[in-house]
């Protein structure tokens, strides 16, 4: 849903790297090159970013709708 704070396996901080990674992927850069330049060496940390889907943007509009209905009642 939202990027995990740390790598599940080794515990290294990865959440602060997500936005730069996502932006650079959108700009068409190779994920391998981005991960290398951000200093993510181990495959446990690399898969955290590689396999992540930021679903929170899809959930956001629904959460707002529920809140509005609550206000009505």
């Amino acid at each position: 849903m939202i990027i995990p704070i740390r790598c599940f396996t080794c515990g290294a901080l990865i959440a602060d790297k997500w936005e730069e990674y996502a932006r650079r992927v959108r700009q068409g850069e190779e994920p391998k090159a981005i991960l290398d330049s951000m200093g993510l060496k181990r495959y446990c940390c690399r898969r955290m970013l590689l396999s992540h889907t930021d679903l929170i943007d899809d959930i956001l509009p629904f959460s707002q709708k529920i809140r509005k209905e609550e206000e009505v009642f």
Partner: protein
């Protein structure tokens, strides 16, 4: 016993520990993982949370944020005068208050207001939650010192590992410089320079013996020094990696002196 630093850069620390047994190296590794204290959020009081990130998820995310630790100013709750009830010596309060005035506002770790300017999240760019317009998060968090054996959020290291010091013996007379070993080595340890096969970066060798197996002339031999270790310590940012090693050694020494004390008491009682 001897220490040689290979690299000490940012959160990474690589050094050679010479003249010790595996048991000593492993004791040091385990103390670094499980016993070196660091600061992390342990209790969260959620006053308001209308974001799509549930309370428990929010609290869990907050707990995992590594905080820059000041070991001089704080004590472990179990060793504190307040007996773990929470006082200024063992607990630090952080507050977070944010309302989304527009669509898709991200709550960052920089929005956490710490009472102590020294103890703060290691990075300002950690996304904690995302909010739609009009949503609000108001909370109070209590950070405490803790140990990795209680919860991994208190672990000051992400990687902490050692390996034996590799020894590569090349028989230059038998070697025909065919380059097979150079291409077979997954870590790119070997290279041909001029007319000689040379070892370029011995510290990267993973002792896989691919070079030995690929050599048709038996010119290369892989072995290791079992009294010498390459240590790799990577900090989460909570403490500088060299401090982690130093604190770990002190903790190990304290454990041994406690044991010695216990032994001398037992011997004295036995004599009576």
């Amino acid at each position: 016993m001897n220490v040689k630093i290979i690299r000490l850069e940012g959160n990474e620390f690589r050094f050679i520990l010479e003249g010790v047994d595996v048991s000593v190296a492993n004791a040091l590794r385990r103390v670094m993982l499980a016993e070196v204290p660091s600061m992390a959020i342990d209790e969260v009081i959620i006053i308001e949370n209308t974001s799509p990130v549930f309370d428990e998820m929010l609290a869990h995310r907050l707990g995992l944020i590594p905080l820059v630790t000041d070991l001089e100013s704080y004590v472990l709750p179990e060793e504190c005068d307040c007996k773990g009830e929470g006082c200024i010596k063992c607990t630090l309060t952080l507050t977070l208050e944010k309302e989304a005035e527009e669509e898709g506002v991200i709550v960052y770790s920089s929005d956490l207001q710490s009472q102590d300017p020294v103890v703060r999240p290691v990075s300002d760019k950690i996304p904690i939650a995302k909010m739609a317009r009009g949503q609000r998060i108001v909370l109070e968090a209590h950070a405490k010192l803790g140990k990795g054996k209680v919860h991994a959020k208190w672990q000051p290291v992400s990687t902490c590992a050692y390996k034996y010091m590799p020894i590569l013996e090349i028989n230059q007379e038998k070697c025909l410089r065919c380059g097979d070993c150079v291409s077979f080595c997954p870590k790119k340890v070997l290279a041909i320079e001029g007319e000689k096969l040379v070892v370029k970066n011995i510290f990267d060798c993973s002792l896989c013996k691919s070079c030995e197996e690929s050599c048709r002339f038996d010119a290369i031999k892989v072995s290791w020094d079992d009294k010498s270790f390459i240590f790799n310590v990577e900090s989460t940012g909570a403490l500088p990696p060299s401090d982690i090693v130093r604190v770990a050694i002190n903790i190990l020494l304290r454990k041994l002196s406690d044991l010695e004390e216990g032994l001398s008491i037992a011997v004295k009682e036995e004599a009576h």
